[in-house]
Each structure stands twice: as structure tokens, then as C-alpha cells.
């Protein structure tokens, strides 16, 4: 895509976050959408492109009263929204539509109007992983990690420290689910979920949603909010089976998506002021830092332990508190995008002073898919 040809002009999360037992999945999509429309000063009838995951874009369009000329139902897990941004940028540039609404809503904790986790017993996962006792992400996303730890000498303390530093960021965020400081010992004394993962190394399970509105950079100047420009994007997919990842110490989808986004954006790593890496579990920021090229393989633990990603560090990472402490409804990518947009608008609770470029990197499934969006607040 052409750099900065597309901008985010509306961005909002659901009115409530955390436990929302009185709103369904569809209702969360709509609440986030209405908040984003208000943020952009638009009505549903101003929208001519829709994208969402979890529910069908048909459902979203009809519910909000939108007649789109562009619909994207890409659903590859929690990074689907990064792909939606990428596809929307291409669609607007191609003239398929002018104004795209991307929504997310998930009743991860309360399960109101939500489906269950499970795969058909005839699917590849149903045949070659489910019979061995996997139970959703905590026993699947974590499977490669002992190999990564052995290869690079990573310890459980290193994993725990990822959660500790993200909690420091969450403490600055009034909307974060968990804000009290924690220590490495606290993490290592929390409940064992799936060795070597303790509870505080795993993401939250909450309810919530978010929405984005994108249009051309040309039109963006006329909107009430400061435009946030899309500088570069990437996406890739690798495997529906975590057991079949090519390399247990690195995600191919991360590497491909990240490189594409950096190439498109025409920036170097030193240009990045702010970084979001989807942290469903504590190892994700380690893999992300290495696969995006911020650290050499095996060096992310030292980078984090050296407080480079902490408050005051040179590369602020997951400044909303992340999936580990802020919120995680199941498909967290939307919240990472929201935080990047807030940082670029200059309104984040833990604002990085003078930040001009934000990299937002998502994962889908268990290292199944990836999407990367690089934002700039300079036209």
C-alpha cells in the first residue's frame, strides 16, 4: 500500500470492560461500533465497508443498519483486526468503499451469546491434537516454549518478569483489570496451569470489544480527531496445529508479517517509538521481539530484563498492560490496535512522550496467523 494513504479517524472500546454479564457478543460489537462512530462524528449510514471476526459481517451490517459495498469476514484468530486494517486500506485505495468500520466484541468471561471452544473431531486439530488432552490456549500456545527455553537458556524467572513489567504499565491505566504491583515470586507462586506456565503468565479472560473506522488520508483531515496514518502492514499464516510449527523457537508467520510491514513502512527498528506485541501468554513478547527483528534470537529475555521495554525504557512495550494485565476477551488484537491509536493521538493513560511511530503486532490462534500494522501520527 501507499504509505499514509489511509488513516484511522474513529477508535473506541466498549463502554464497559471486564465483566459485562448483561451484554451479548453481538451487543458488544454494536456498543464498540457506536462509540467509534461517535468518536468520528459519523452515523451508521456513513459507513460503506464493514469488517469483523467472531460474528459475520452480514450480522454486523444488518444489526447496525449499514448497506456496505465492501465486507471482510477474515477470521484467523486474535490478529484478524490487523488483517482487517490491511484489507480495508487496500479496499479504500482501490475504490471499493470510502469508510470502513472494523468491530470486535467478545463475551470471553460471561459467555453471553457466545459459542464454545472446540473443533470438529474430523478436523486436523480434532484428529491430531484434541485426542491428547489439549484444553484451549493454555495447553496449546505454550507447547513450544520448553524447546525455546532449552535452546536459549530462558528461565521461568525470565517468563515471569514479562508479566511483572507489564503490570507496571497496567498500574498507570485506570481501565486495566489488574493494577496492583507483582513480583517474580508472586508469578512463580501463582497457580500452576500447564507446566511451565503459572496463572500470572497467562492472559486474563474478560468481556469487551473495540472498533476502528478508517478512511482515506485526504478525507481524514475533516474529522474531529487527530488522524492516525497507516504507514505499513503485513500478514501471514502458518499452521492450524501448534505441533506442526516449523520452528518451536520462532514464528514464521511473525517473521513474514513483520518484515512485510517494515518494508512497506520504509522504517528501521530505531525509528519505532512504541510497540504492541499481542501477549496471550508471557512468551509472546519474547518471540515477538525476536521475530520482528528488535532482538537477535535468544536475546529478548535480556532486553526485557534490562528494562528496555519498561516505563522509561527505550522501547515501551504493551503500554496498556497487555493481555496479561489490561484485558483479554479472546481475540485481543483489537485492544492492541486501540492502544497504538491512543499513543499516536497522544491520549494514552501511559503516554509515551513525543511518540511518532507505533508498531502493532498480533497473533492469531496458537502461532497460526499474524498481522502487523505500523502507524504514524505525522501526515
Amino acid at each position: 500500500m501507499k504509505q499514509k494513504s489511509i488513516a484511522v479517524v474513529g477508535a473506541a472500546e466498549t463502554t464497559q470492560m471486564g465483566k459485562i454479564p448483561d451484554v451479548s457478543v453481538l451487543g458488544l460489537h454494536a456498543d464498540a461500533a457506536l462509540n467509534a462512530l461517535a468518536d468520528a462524528g459519523l452515523k451508521p449510514s456513513d459507513i460503506d465497508g464493514v469488517a469483523c471476526a467472531g460474528i459475520s459481517p452480514v450480522e454486523l451490517a444488518q444489526y447496525l443498519g449499514i448497506t456496505p459495498t465492501y465486507a471482510d469476514g477474515t477470521s484467523v484468530g486474535g490478529c484478524s483486526f490487523m488483517l482487517h486494517v490491511r484489507h480495508a486500506a487496500a479496499a479504500i485505495n482501490a475504490g471499493h468503499c470510502t469508510t470502513v468500520l472494523i468491530t470486535h466484541g467478545e463475551s470471553g468471561r460471561s459467555r453471553v451469546g457466545a459459542g464454545g471452544f472446540g473443533r470438529a473431531p474430523s478436523s486436523m486439530m480434532g484428529q491430531f491434537e484434541m485426542p491428547f488432552g489439549v484444553t484451549a490456549p493454555p495447553t496449546m500456545f505454550t507447547i513450544p516454549v520448553l524447546r525455546y527455553m532449552k535452546t536459549y537458556g530462558v528461565t521461568v524467572e525470565d517468563l515471569a518478569n514479562v508479566a511483572v513489567i507489564q503490570r507496571e504499565w497496567a498500574a498507570k491505566n485506570p481501565r486495566a483489570s489488574y493494577r496492583d504491583p507483582i513480583t517474580i515470586d508472586d508469578v512463580l507462586n501463582s497457580d500452576m496451569i500447564a507446566w511451565p506456565f503459572r496463572k500470572l503468565m497467562c492472559c486474563l479472560v474478560t468481556d469487551g470489544g473495540g472498533a476502528l473506522i478508517l478512511t482515506s488520508a485526504e478525507r481524514a483531515k475533516d474529522f474531529p480527531q487527530k488522524p492516525v496514518y497507516v504507514l505499513g502492514t503485513g500478514e501471514s499464516v502458518e499452521t492450524p496445529l501448534v505441533s506442526q510449527m516449523e520452528d518451536f523457537t520462532s514464528s514464521k508467520a511473525f517473521r513474514v508479517s513483520g518484515k512485510k510491514a517494515f518494508d512497506e513502512a520504509g522504517i528501521s527498528h530505531a525509528d519505532v517509538d512504541h510497540l504492541m506485541i499481542y501477549d496471550a501468554f508471557a512468551h509472546l513478547p519474547l518471540y515477538g521481539l525476536e521475530d520482528l527483528g528488535f532482538c537477535k534470537p535468544g536475546e529478548a529475555k535480556d532486553f526485557i530484563n534490562g528494562r528496555n521495554t519498561a516505563i522509561g525504557g527505550k522501547l515501551p512495550l504493551n503500554t496498556n498492560g497487555g493481555g496479561l494485565s489490561y484485558m483479554h476477551s479472546g481475540m485481543y488484537g483489537m485492544y492492541a490496535l486501540q492502544e497504538s491509536v491512543r499513543q499516536m493521538r497522544g491520549i494514552a493513560p501511559a503516554q509515551v512522550p513525543g511518540a511518532k511511530i507505533s508498531v502493532c503486532h498480533g497473533v492469531g490462534g496458537m502461532f497460526a496467523a499474524s498481522g502487523t500494522v505500523i502507524f504514524s501520527n505525522e501526515a
Partner: protein, 135 residues
């Protein structure tokens, strides 16, 4: 305890589950490159060649990575159990359970040698598990 969640073979995977029922770990390989692959499909990944064959694997493997699930799925009993990925001697990796040894980090050491065993789960399905190699 509810019945264990079992696979439902498709036409493309039937031979693998038939093999397991008969006590054989069946892999496939490309007849042009000789490269073995898993899970089963009627063509070789990457090359796309349909010129493939089924062969019996040695059953030897090493422990590649694992977790120990402390929140057992209801059909898996009540004790923590390891969900492992093993590196097969022929190249592919597969998910499995490790049997015949304690389900602890001390007993489950990465790269330890393993061998396949089959456990009958129903009239049609036996699951391939791995145990510490003997001798």
C-alpha cells in the same frame, strides 16, 4: 468420567488410523524427494506432488517439547498429564502423550529417547502414545 475425545478419520487420514489400530505408525513420503511428512494428506506439502507412498515408521522418537496440564480435561481423568510433541526419527513431529513414566518435569527431560506404543480406545481407534525407550 466422560468418554475420551477421539478422532474421526476422514478419507485422507483413514490409513493412519487403520495403521494405529493394527499397531503400526504409518507416515507418508514423497516418492520424488523421499521427504517424509505428517499429518497425512494425499500429496506432499511444498512440492504438491501426488506421487506419494505410505510407509511404516520406526516408532523411535525424542521428546521435543511439552506442557503438563494441571487442569485436566474431564475425559482425561483427574491427575496432571503431559501433552507432548515428539520428534520422529523420520523427520516429522507429532503431538502425543508420554506414558510409562511420571508426569513431572524431572521425569520428562527434553530429547530423551522414546518409542511408540498403541492404546486401544474403541473398536476403530487406537491412539499412538510414546514411552521411554527400553534398552
Amino acid at each position: 468420567m466422560p468418554p475420551r475425545i477421539l478422532p474421526e478419520p476422514t478419507p485422507e487420514t483413514q490409513h493412519f488410523w487403520d495403521g494405529s489400530r493394527n499397531g503400526e505408525l504409518l507416515l507418508q513420503r514423497c516418492k520424488e524427494t523421499g521427504e517424509a511428512y505428517f499429518p497425512p494428506r494425499p500429496f506432499a506439502p511444498k512440492s504438491g506432488s501426488r506421487n506419494v507412498e505410505v510407509f511404516k515408521a520406526s516408532g523411535r522418537a525424542t521428546l521435543y517439547s511439552y506442557v503438563i496440564n494441571h487442569r485436566p480435561r474431564p475425559d482425561m481423568g483427574t491427575e496432571p498429564y503431559a501433552i507432548a510433541v515428539v520428534q520422529l526419527e523420520e523427520g516429522p513431529r507429532m503431538m502425543t502423550n508420554i506414558v510409562g513414566c511420571p508426569q513431572t518435569p524431572e521425569a520428562l527431560v527434553l530429547d530423551m529417547p522414546l518409542e511408540v506404543v498403541f492404546e486401544k480406545m474403541s473398536d476403530t481407534i487406537s491412539l499412538p502414545f510414546f514411552q521411554p525407550a527400553k534398552g
